[in-house]
Symmetry: C2
Subunit: 413 residues, 2 copies
C-alpha cells in the first residue's frame, strides 16, 4: 500500500524518546526542510548559551586561567569519549582534533610506520577526493605507493595479493551513492592480507551503526560537522585501536601529544595513548560548541539511532519510488539498509539544477558531479513527515520542469 | 625621575586613537589586570554578536548553503589578508588555518622539499618545545636531520658551514625571555649559507613590528590566540614568500588545497598560491570569532602599534626597576625594545608561586620553568596605568612574602 501523509505521521509516533531528542536540536527557517545533515548537521539548541558562557566567563574573564580552571586542555579527550559509543569504540581510544584531512594524514602515516617495510596504500578509485589527495601527497613525497581498486568488495583480494599493502583506506560510506561497505568483512580481508584497515566514518558516524572494535578496525577518522552536529567546520575525530597506539611516533609530533606537555622537556616523548595524535593547542571555541552535541549523543542509544535511520530512509526510498518514479531519477543508494549510509542518493543527469530548484522550494539538498542528488537524513532531527513533504515538493518541481537550466552550482560542501 | 601614577596617566594620553581601539576590546573581571596577552589576548567586544549571527543565520538557517552564500570557504584567505600588514606581508601570501604546530610541520616539510637534497634543520636548543618536537618527529621519521645551536645570533655561522642546512627554524621572540632575534640579519645569514629561514611569530605578531618581506623571510607561522586576539585555541597563520609558493606539493594535500576543489577531480593538483597549504575544511566557527579581531587589525597602523608597545614595555621595565629592584628579581628580557618581544620576563627562582600569588591579587601573569615570570603587554588593551597598578601589587606581594610556597603550577599555556 502506498505511503500517505498519515502513515508518515504514524511512523513518527514510534516508541522512543524521539520528540525529546529532537527538541534538543534547533529548527531552521520556518517551512524549510533540511536534508543536508551529510553536509552540516543541525545545531543543538544550547550551543548559544554554551558559547556565551565561554566568551564571558572564559575568554573575557578567566583568560589564560581557562586552560586549567575550565578544562580546555581536556576537551579533545572528553569529546572523544562522548562520541565513542556511536562508533563502537572504547571511550579512551577516540580524540577530537584538527580536520578530517589532517587526521587522515596522521593515521595513514601511522599505518605506514606500523606496517613497514610495506608501503602500499590501497584506495577505491572514486573515494572522497580529499582522502585520495592526502594519499597522493604521500606518494608524491616518496613515503608511500598507491594502488587503486574500482570496488573494494570485489577488488581487494587482487590488490592484497602481492603482499606489500600497508593499509587499506576506505570510506565506510560513499559520499555520492551512500553505499556502505562491510566493515567487518573488509577489515578481516585486509588483515588476512597482512594489511591494516583505516576507515573514514564521515558519512556514517551519527547516522548509522558503526562497530569499530567489533569489526577489529585498526584506525578511523571522521567528520565532526555532519551528522555529529559539531558545527560548521567543527574539529574531526580519530580512533586508534589499542594494539596500535604505541606502534610509532606520531607524524606530527606536537606539544599536546607529548607525554608531559608542561614539563617543557627538551626531547619529544609521545604520550602513551591516543593523546599522541594531538599536535597543537585545542580549538577551544569550536570544541565548546561541539560539547553541546556531545551531551546529546551521550544520552542516545546507538542501536535505536540506527533503527530510526532505517525507518526514515526506508520511508524516503519508498516515497521516491511511489511519487517520483516516472521522471528519470534512479536510486543510486542500495535498497538494503545495512548497505546504505547516512544519506539517500538519486542518480539524475540534471542533479545540480534540480538541487537548486529544490532549494527555491524550501528543500535543502546537495548535488555532486556528475549526477548525484543527495538527500541527507538525520535520525534525531528528520521526521517521516518531513520526508513526505520533501518528496511532495520534489514531485512538484519535477512536474513543473522549469528548473532545467543547465547549471552545475559552484562550491558546495 | 622615578615614574609615578600621574606620569603613567600622562603616557596614556599620548596622541593616537588608543581609546577608540581599546574600546573595541572587552574588559575582564573588574579590578583584575590581565598581563597574559602572550597566552590569550583580550576578546573583541563584537565577538558575541558575530557568533550569534553565525549560529542563527548560518548554522541554524543557512546550513550547507553557508559555504558559498556566507563566504565560509573564503575565511582562511580573508583572515590572512587582514593580518598581513601586521607582519609585513602582502595580503595574498598569508592564510589562517590549523594550529601553529601543524603549520610548522607543513612549512618545515616545504622547506625540506624546496631545499633538497639538503636535509638539516637548524634550531635553537631552547626553542619553544612544540617547534622542537615537530622537527624531532621529522628526524624520527627519517625525513630530516637536526642541528641545535645554543644561540642563533652567535652560532648560526658554524651551523651553516657544512653546507647541508635546508632550513633555519627560529622563534622570532623567545617564549621565556622575550628576546627578539634580528630577523633581517639572521635571514640574510641563512640565505648566505644556502638555507631557507622559517620564523615563528607567535610572540611578536600583533605586539611588535614584523617585516617579513622587508627581511626576505621565506616562511613563517604564528599563533592566532595570543596578541592577535583570535580567541582561545584560534586557528594559526602561515606565510610563504611568493618565490617559494610553487616549489613543491604541500605535505598534507587536502581538498581545500586543490587548484579546483569542487571539480572533485581524480588527481591532486596543488592550488597555485598559498591555498595549497589549506588541507581540510575551514574552522568556520573559530574563523568567525577571529574575524572580529581581524576587523580591528585592519584599522591599526603597525608602526603606531610598535611605538605604543615600546612605550608600554619601557614603562614596565622602569617600574620594575624602581619598585621591585630589591627582591631578587632579574630582568630576563633585553632592555632595548628592538631586541624585546611581546612580553617582559623576569628571572626569579620562585616564579611559579609568585605568579599564583599575583593571580590572587588580581594580576594575571604566567610562569615558565625553570624561573621565568612573564608579563604580557597588549599594545591595544594594556594601559600605562594598568602597569603602574600591576607593579604596585607585585611590590606588595614581594614585601608580604607569604606566597613562597614551593609550588610550580601545573599546566598553563
Amino acid at each position: 500500500m502506498p505511503l500517505d501523509a498519515a502513515a508518515c505521521d504514524r511512523l513518527d509516533e514510534a516508541p522512543g524518546p524521539w520528540a525529546a531528542w529532537r527538541s534538543r536540536l534547533a529548527g531552521g527557517e520556518p517551512g524549510t526542510l533540511y536534508l543536508d545533515a551529510n553536509s552540516i548537521g543541525p545545531m543543538p539548541v544550547d550551543v548559544p548559551q554554551r558559547l556565551q558562557a565561554l566568551l564571558d566567563g572564559g575568554w573575557r574573564k578567566a583568560r589564560r586561567r581557562g586552560w586549567t580552571a575550565l578544562n580546555w586542555l581536556d576537551q579533545p579527550r572528553a569529546l572523544g569519549a562522548a562520541l565513542a559509543p556511536l562508533i563502537g569504540a572504547a571511550p579512551d581510544d577516540v580524540r577530537v582534533a584538527d580536520s578530517t584531512s589532517v587526521n587522515q594524514y596522521k593515521l595513514l602515516r601511522h599505518a605506514l610506520a606500523a606496517a613497514a617495510p610495506r608501503r602500499v596504500i590501497v584506495l577505491e578509485r572514486e573515494v572522497f577526493p580529499s582522502n585520495r589527495y592526502v594519499a597522493e601527497g604521500l606518494a608524491q613525497a616518496g613515503l608511500a605507493d598507491l594502488r587503486f581498486v574500482n570496488d573494494a568488495a570485489s577488488g581487494l583480494a587482487e590488490a592484497l595479493a602481492p603482499g606489500d599493502v600497508a593499509v587499506v583506506a576506505l570510506s565506510h560510506v560513499d559520499y555520492r551513492s551512500s553505499t556502505r561497505l562491510d566493515m567487518a568483512a573488509l577489515t578481516a580481508q585486509a588483515h588476512a592480507g597482512g594489511a591494516l584497515a583505516l576507515w573514514d566514518l564521515s558519512h556514517s558516524a551519527g547516522a548509522v551503526a558503526v562497530h569499530l572494535r567489533h569489526c577489529e578496525a585498526d584506525l578511523a577518522v571522521g567528520c565532526g560537522y555532519k551528522y555529529l552536529c559539531g558545527g560548521p567546520g567543527a574539529p574531526a575525530f580519530l580512533y586508534v585501536h589499542p594494539r596500535l597506539q604505541q606502534a610509532a611516533w606520531p607524524a606530527i609530533a606536537g606539544w599536546m601529544g607529548h607525554a608531559d606537555t608542561f614539563a617543557f622537556a627538551a626531547g619529544y616523548r609521545p604520550a602513551p595513548g591516543p593523546d599522541r595524535w594531538l599536535a597543537g593547542t585545542p580549538a577551544v571555541l569550536a570544541n565548546t560548541a561541539f560539547e553541546a552535541a556531545a551531551a546529546i549523543w551521550q544520552d542516545v542509544d546507538p542501536a535505536m539511532l540506527d533503527a530510526r535511520h532505517r525507518s526514515l530512509t526506508d520511508t524516503l526510498v519508498q516515497l521516491l519510488d511511489e511519487q517520483c518514479g516516472g521522471f528519470g531519477l534512479a536510486l543510486a543508494s542500495p535498497r538494503e539498509h545495512a548497505r546504505r549510509g547516512g544519506h539517500v542518493a538519486l542518480r539524475f543527469e540534471g542533479a545540480a539544477p534540480l538541487a537548486q530548484a529544490l532549494a527555491e522550494q524550501g528543500v535543502v539538498v546537495s548535488a555532486r558531479r556528475p549526477d548525484a542528488l543527495r538527500l541527507g537524513v538525520h535520525p534525531l532531527a528528520t521526521t517521516h513527515a518531513d520526508l513526505w513533504l520533501a518528496v511532495q515538493r520534489l514531485q512538484r518541481v519535477l512536474k513543473d520542469g522549469t528548473w532545467q537550466a543547465p547549471r552545475f552550482a559552484g562550491p558546495a560542501i
